[in-house]
Symmetry: C2
Subunit: 337 residues, 2 copies
């Protein structure tokens, strides 16, 4: 069967591609959360033995790639292609992690949707016959994000109740043309959606309309519905964004069938961990997928999920210039192995 475009935003793979291996690296707070035991490696040192937090982020990606290669019993040089991106200006977490490795690299920017975006592109690359082994990878770091997007940590700024906590972690998944593991069958590419929300401390709400638009497009394009999935899992809407999505879906008559979960509320215990509205950042959906979710799919505890990476496409410059926060959401349909 051939790959085919479906509807306006989606495509189906003629031959599903396989996520044969996955790896996750996380920080201290993440290790203390509900998914703490699902990560391959955690480190209490927020610097991951580097000199700066930005370099720590690079190091997390390197470790994730090392673990992935080890699990797959291949040398890193056998990876045909790495799709990766992060939140740092000019994505230096991703580019520095692959410095002089000789691994072909295509850099992405999709903000916190990067885990889904990279999986989607890896599906295209492998499903289209352009390579047989592609890695989808991303990372984020609480301290480098706070410094870059908000205030330096040393400033001791107060966080608003609607703020989310950027996950310190990196997730990597190996997408192959054959093998054992959860399979990607279809993807939906997001559109840049902006309802005019300007509060950079309430990004969940800014992203919720994009999530709704993509889930609706996925259902329409592929003639499926919430009943076809065990779980519809958004990337990092957090508690407020998740509620906003439920409200919007109800108002617009789109049934999510009680299947909605959000990585931002899975990765942290929002009642106990002082993370306010929940987790966020590229690493949030990265480590939740490349551990907990893929394990559940692999063991048959989940049969089919719609993984919806959500991203807020703002920059501190656009916010300072008074512009609203555009959101995007890419969705990947994954069936159990």
């Amino acid at each position: 069967m051939e790959n085919k475009k479906c509807g306006k935003q989606s495509f189906m793979l003629g031959q599903p591609v396989v996520i044969t291996h996955w790896a996750s690296v996380a920080g201290k707070k993440e290790s203390e959360g509900p998914l703490g035991k699902t990560f391959d490696l955690t480190n209490k040192d927020s610097y991951f033995r580097q000199r700066t937090w930005e370099q720590a982020e690079k190091r997390m990606q390197q470790i994730a790639l090392e673990i992935l290669a080890k699990k797959a019993h291949v040398h890193q040089s056998e990876f045909g292609l790495v799709f990766s991106g992060d939140l740092l200006n000019q994505c230096i977490g991703s580019s520095f992690s692959l410095r002089n490795t000789g691994i072909p690299h295509l850099g992405l920017y999709g903000a916190c949707s990067t885990m889904a975006e990279s999986l989607l592109m890896a599906s295209m690359a492998v499903g289209g016959g352009f390579t047989d082994k592609a890695v989808a990878m991303t990372s984020s770091h609480f301290a480098s994000s706070e410094r870059q997007y908000r205030f330096p940590l040393g400033y001791g700024g107060q966080r608003t109740p609607t703020a989310q906590w950027t996950v310190t972690g990196s997730g990597a998944a190996l997408v192959c043309s054959s093998g054992k593991g959860p399979k990607i069958t279809a993807c939906t590419i997001g559109t840049v959606t902006d309802l005019g929300i300007k509060d950079a401390n309430n990004m969940g709400s800014a992203m919720a309309p994009a999530a709704l638009a993509t889930i609706r497009a996925h259902f329409d394009d592929l003639h499926v519905g919430a009943d076809d999935y065990d779980l519809i899992v958004t990337g990092d809407l957090g508690q407020l964004g998740k509620e906003m999505l439920l409200t919007l879906a109800q108002r617009e008559g789109l049934s999510l069938g009680g299947k909605l979960a959000d990585c931002g509320t899975l990765v942290f215990d929002v009642t106990k961990q002082d993370v306010h509205a929940g987790g966020s950042g590229c690493g949030c959906s990265g480590i939740t997928l490349c551990g907990y979710l893929l394990e559940k799919l692999n063991s048959g505890k989940l049969k089919r999920i719609l993984f919806c990476g959500t991203g807020a496409l703002l920059s501190p410059t656009s916010t300072q210039q008074g512009l609203p926060i555009p959101g995007i959401c890419h969705a990947v349909s994954i069936v159990g192995g």
Copy 2:
């Protein structure tokens, strides 16, 4: 014929994809350069009637997309997918340009290699059967880049002789599964290459090793050489970087057969335009390709070129932290229409 991976970094398209239309938008200095007459639209107002330079960059992408749709006699909503990215933090030129257009968007970060990276990905998307119309687009702006990467213009800082001038412009190309126009037959994906150059005012030299590595990989993977091309055109090495590439190639015994050209020295007259070492930025190779080069290919004046987008993957943060400048180069083989 099927798509296939070739060697370590390249792939060939079973059925070449076609660049059916292209569009370019540029600023005043570009309009005064040797390629001035090849752009679809130029504007003396560096703000492009917007309130900020960042928004001007967004506006240039919007105009490029409008012109592209007009030339192709389609409504913008018929574009299946836009691959785009730029140099601004969090790529706000690209995301804001597509706000609420309903066009599926996959964001890239490849620094100044973005025109080649987006073409390469559009080739995968169309060649793999995932969509039949994909746009590859990018932009850069002298004033927004100076402010973000170097000094605010109002500061009146002196530029070093090795510095390059960021092109104000946007290029967009429509890649289709069929139609008339120059064809993409094969691509080579770059690796992150870093020889330790730390001078952020000499980015041409920082990128030259990456260009060499990718050209060599392309030749090796696809069993071709400089003789197979009319032109091997790098993105924005500028005069110094081009010389550096020639020196490195000679030292390593790789023949470029006198075919090397660089968009940074094509787009400006470096002897007259006070741009120091030449043009740079995503828009540099963007507007040179989506005008001059594609026209030459279309009219048969060029038969086959290797378009090598070069990018310096630094950020002001990595530079301030004393790190070197990693480079990347993606190559796209294009034959006349």
